[in-house]
Structures are given as structure tokens and as C-alpha cells.
Amino acid sequence: MKPEELDILIERHLGGDLDVAEQKLLAEALEEDWAIERFVDRMTLAADLHQRASIGIYPSRSVASASTRSSSSRLWQLALVAFSVAATLLVAFVFRKSSAPQPIAVLVSSDHASWEGSLPTVPGSELHQGFLELRTGVATIRFRSGAEMILEAPAHLVLESPMKASLLNGAATVEVPDSAKGFIVQTPEGEVVDLGTAFAVSVDPEKQSSLFEVLSGEIEIRPNDHTATKRLTETEVATLDASGVSRQLDLLEMQRSPDLAEPTVRLKTNGRELTIIRDAQYRNSLEPDVMMVKTSQVSAHFDRRAFFGFDLSQVDLDGGEGFPDAKIILNLAPSRHGTATLLPETSLFSIYGVTMNNAERVFALKDPQWGDIPDTTKAELIDSFQVSRGQQTGVVEIASQSLVNFLNDHQNEIACFLVVRESGEKGQQGLVHAFANSLHAEISGPSLEITLVR
């Protein structure tokens, strides 16, 4: 690789513009000594230019404020002061003008869409490079290049770059304006280049073939084995498989194997979530987009519990006997409060099922008090789970027979759950754990997944 080529790769990497293959290329290029030197120099320069542009706070001011603090008799108070001095400076170090990693695409809209994992389902969510699995519904994704894809479940999509996506399974319609001319959809048998403006594609991994229909404009199909590429124009239909591209004159709608998963219902909390804090005067430390959980033997004032509920009356059991299987999915989110270094290596949580007949009223309270929620001694233990110290994001799945029993006992009611941290912390500044609620912009709130028929 020539130095100028490496320079361009590095620039595009900094701009978040490399697809998966190009990222590998850059990684391999760095095996050479000269390339490492150039890379390090370039990154050092980028860091300097970034910091030069950012706002800083004059250190002398912050240090002066530390020295005017009067000494206190209690050691922990002093520790708190010293820590907050360092923390103030740390805040000053975190430059306000941070550039977030460039997203590849944006989720424009979703129709009953649910995704595998903890991906955002709020329209407007930014999507980054990686693998997406659409389990139900229809979703519209707009790439940074301007290309728009409507995706139908079940579908497996890999977002590679603003100009490329791989469809491993599923059906999609792609519309490509001038700015995204040349947008590529990769399928298992070959890739398709959209020369403008729209086409439909359906991938059937079982039959190992893909179907293309040009809605307007022109596309070019390039089979993997580099055999003859074919151009299709408006209203033309073709299949692509191991034997190449074949035009189809009269083709019935492609048969798609439906999702063979068992029928499941996914319930959301729909706003039925809240955090209760033991000492109400610290209400201001609650964040609107997460449910916070904390237990501190050092200072119980800041203890918090998460409380949320699902409306089971929405579920039509269709004459069935009850819920055979269920699981609760919670997504951890950064709470932005406290430090993980004061926690033990793993924190232990318990989730309880709470029976109360005034649940709706409690969820509607503007200012829920600690006493409004029954204590754990009056609740049913559903399950326990652990979160390790370094983990502030991730998925927690709760599935147990106790959960199923609890749900079956509350079939047409609002099933309420309480999440409590059983383990404590070494200092009152310990990390507050948090789970995304339905208001979180990027992370999904709690869901209850019920399997209807065994």
C-alpha cells in the first residue's frame, strides 16, 4: 500500500466512512512498521487539533476553590470534597464539543417493528455499523447517503456503510436518490448496484436465491462468481442463484417462508415505570429516561428502586389455559450518577412481583413516595440476576417459573414488578444502576415477552 493510500484510509476511518472490508484492510496495513508510525502521527495530530478547538476551564480557578474549603472533622466529608474537586476538574476535561461516532443510518419509522436485542425502536434513532435482525413488522431506514430502505420481517440486515448494506434474509424495497447513486445491496449470491432509483429485493436463504424487481430506473446485478453481470430496467424481474441471473417473465409472488417462531406477544410498559427514592428531598437526582436502582448501607437516603408494570388485559389468551412461558427483558443504561469503582465486582439484583390494586393510580402520581410501593417483604421474589462492575449497558433477561406463575395469577390485571439492588457499595458515591424506560432515546424500555402456545 502506498503512503497516500494509507492516508486516505485513515481519513475515512476518522470520518466513520469505512465499510467492514475496508476496516479489515486498514487493520492489515498496520502490520507494516512505516504504517504504524504514520498512523500514530496522524492520530496524535487529530487529537491535538480536536483539543485545540475545544473549550477548557482554567485550572487555577478550580484549584483555588478547593483550597478555600474549610477543613471538616469527619473524614468522609473531606473525602467527598477532595473527590468532588477532582470530579469538577474531570468535568472540565470532558470537552463539551464531542463528536459522536457517525451513524450509518437513521430509523425513519417502524410499523409494529421489534428487533432482536436492545436496539432502539424509536423513530429518529441513529443506527450504527453492525448487524440488525427485524423480528416483526416493517421498518424504514434512511442511510446517511440518502438511500432509503423499507424492510419487512423476518429480516437479517448488515449495515456496512452509508452506501452499502447486506441483506442476508428477508425482503426490502430500496429507493436511491441521486446522492446515493451506486448504493449496493449485498445478497448471499451476489450484489446489486442501484443506478437509480428504486427496486425490490427478496432473499430466500433456504432456496439460496434472491429475487429482484426494478420499480423504476435501473439496477446492475453482479453474481459472486463474477459471471456475467446483468442490467435490469423498469418492471423487469430476475432471480439470482448459484446458476446466475435469470430473467423471469411471469412470476408469481415469491413464496416466503414465514417466521416459524412460536407466536409471542411482546408487551411494553407504555409509560408505567417509575423510580422511587427513599429520601424524597433528593427527588432531583432522578432522571426521566431511566429507572434507577441503588442500595447503600453507607447512606440509605439515596436508595432507589425501580417499579414498572405491564397491562396483561391486552393479551388475548384465545381460550387457552394460561401463559406457558414468559420473560422480562430489561436494558441497562448509563445512569450518569456515581462511580462503579465503589461497587463490589458484581452487584446482585432481585426482581419481585408486586400485587396491588391501585397500580394505575400509583403510576400516574407525579411524586411517588417510598411508601406508595409495597415493601419486598410483601412481594413475591421472581428471580435474581447479577451485573458486573464494568457493565453499564447490556440486556438482562428474566425467565423463571415464578414469573410464569405470577403472570398467571394476574391474568387480566396490570402485572407490577419491583427491582431492588441487594448488594451495597463501599461509599455513598457508588454507582446508581439504571434501566432504560420507555422515554429513553436510544435504548429500549422494559418488555414482557409471552409465548402463547406451546
Binding site: D7, F39, A66, S98, P101
Partner: protein
């Protein structure tokens, strides 16, 4: 537990400020993402503060801080499902050692040198740098504003950075020559 006192927090703050730019540059070289760098820098600083009573005043705070930062980067990498730059841990450690050297040796007076080199840029080049770094405009938007392709913008940025790099190295050498 440490006997945290008034003096150590002042000393810690001073040391952290003195080394903060170098630490940022070090971490950024290893993760190439500003948001991640800021997060890891904060985590490293927190850990450094908690372990500060084991630090010997007079010894190299920067070297210790970079060691802790490197640990934080490794921890972060292992927690990622996929990396934007998929290099092996071994190569990362090599990068870390080069980055540390770059920060320790080329760190002297680098800020002033950078300023004077940026001041030497022509109007159009200087404007591009300002948009990209000061205003945080994306390459996509810059390309639209300039009515050029994204590739053309990347080529331009690469050239400007090459020029800046050459200017910095030239000036650093003469500065080091003056000091010795």
C-alpha cells in the same frame, strides 16, 4: 484506604491538568473515537485518583497515567462486540508503546508549534480545518457545501494533515536543537 487530604487533591489536580492533553492523545490513538476517548479518560482519571496514595511524588505521573489508560482501553476493547479497527491485542500494545513515545518526546511545546503551523495554512485550507474541528461539520456536509465529492474532501484533508505534520516536525526539531 487512602488518607485523602487537601494537599493530595491539589497535587492530583495539578498533575492531571499537566498531563491531560497527552493522555487524551494517547487514548485517542488507540480507540480513534472522541466520545470513547472522553469516557475512557474520565474512567482512567477516576481510577488514578482512587489509587493516588500509591503514587510517589516526583516520579513520572504521565507514564503511570498512560499505563492506567492503556489498561482501560484493553478493558473497553474486550467488552466490544465488534471493533471499528479490528486489530489484534498484540498490535494494539505496539501502538500503545509508540503512542506513549510520541506523547513523551514530541509532547514538548507541541501546542505552540501546532498553533504556528495552523496559522501558516492558506485561507481555504484553514477554513476546512475550522469547519471540521472547531465546528464539527461532517465530511458529508462539507462535501455538499463545497460541491465536491466526499473522496475529494478526504484527499484535501489528508494533504492538509500531511502539510501540518511536516511543519510540526520541522519546527520541533529546531526547537529541540535550540534547547540542547
Amino acid at each position: 484506604m487512602s488518607t485523602l487530604n487537601h494537599h493530595s487533591s491539589e497535587l492530583f489536580s495539578r498533575l492531571l491538568i499537566q498531563n491531560q492533553r497527552r493522555l487524551y492523545g494517547f487514548i485517542f490513538t488507540l480507540v480513534q473515537d472522541h466520545t470513547v476517548t472522553e469516557d475512557l479518560l474520565q474512567e482512567a482519571a477516576t481510577l488514578l485518583w482512587r489509587k493516588f496514595d500509591s503514587f510517589q511524588p516526583g516520579t513520572d505521573f504521565g507514564a503511570w497515567a498512560m499505563k492506567v489508560s492503556r489498561f482501560k482501553v484493553l478493558e473497553w476493547r474486550r467488552a466490544q462486540q465488534r471493533l471499528a479497527l479490528p486489530i489484534e491485542e498484540e498490535l494494539l500494545l505496539e501502538l500503545a508503546s509508540r503512542a506513549e513515545t510520541a506523547q513523551q518526546t514530541k509532547g514538548l511545546g507541541r501546542l505552540e508549534v501546532l498553533e504556528s503551523c495552523v496559522a501558516k495554512l492558506g485561507d481555504r485550507d484553514s477554513d476546512l480545518i475550522r469547519q471540521r474541528y472547531d465546528e464539527g461539520v461532517s465530511v458529508q456536509n462539507i462535501s455538499e457545501k463545497l460541491n465536491r465529492s466526499r473522496d475529494a474532501v478526504y484527499k484535501k484533508l489528508a494533504r492538509i494533515h500531511r502539510d501540518l505534520q511536516a511543519c510540526i516536525e520541522k519546527n520541533l526539531q529546531s526547537e529541540i536543537a535550540e534547547l540542547s
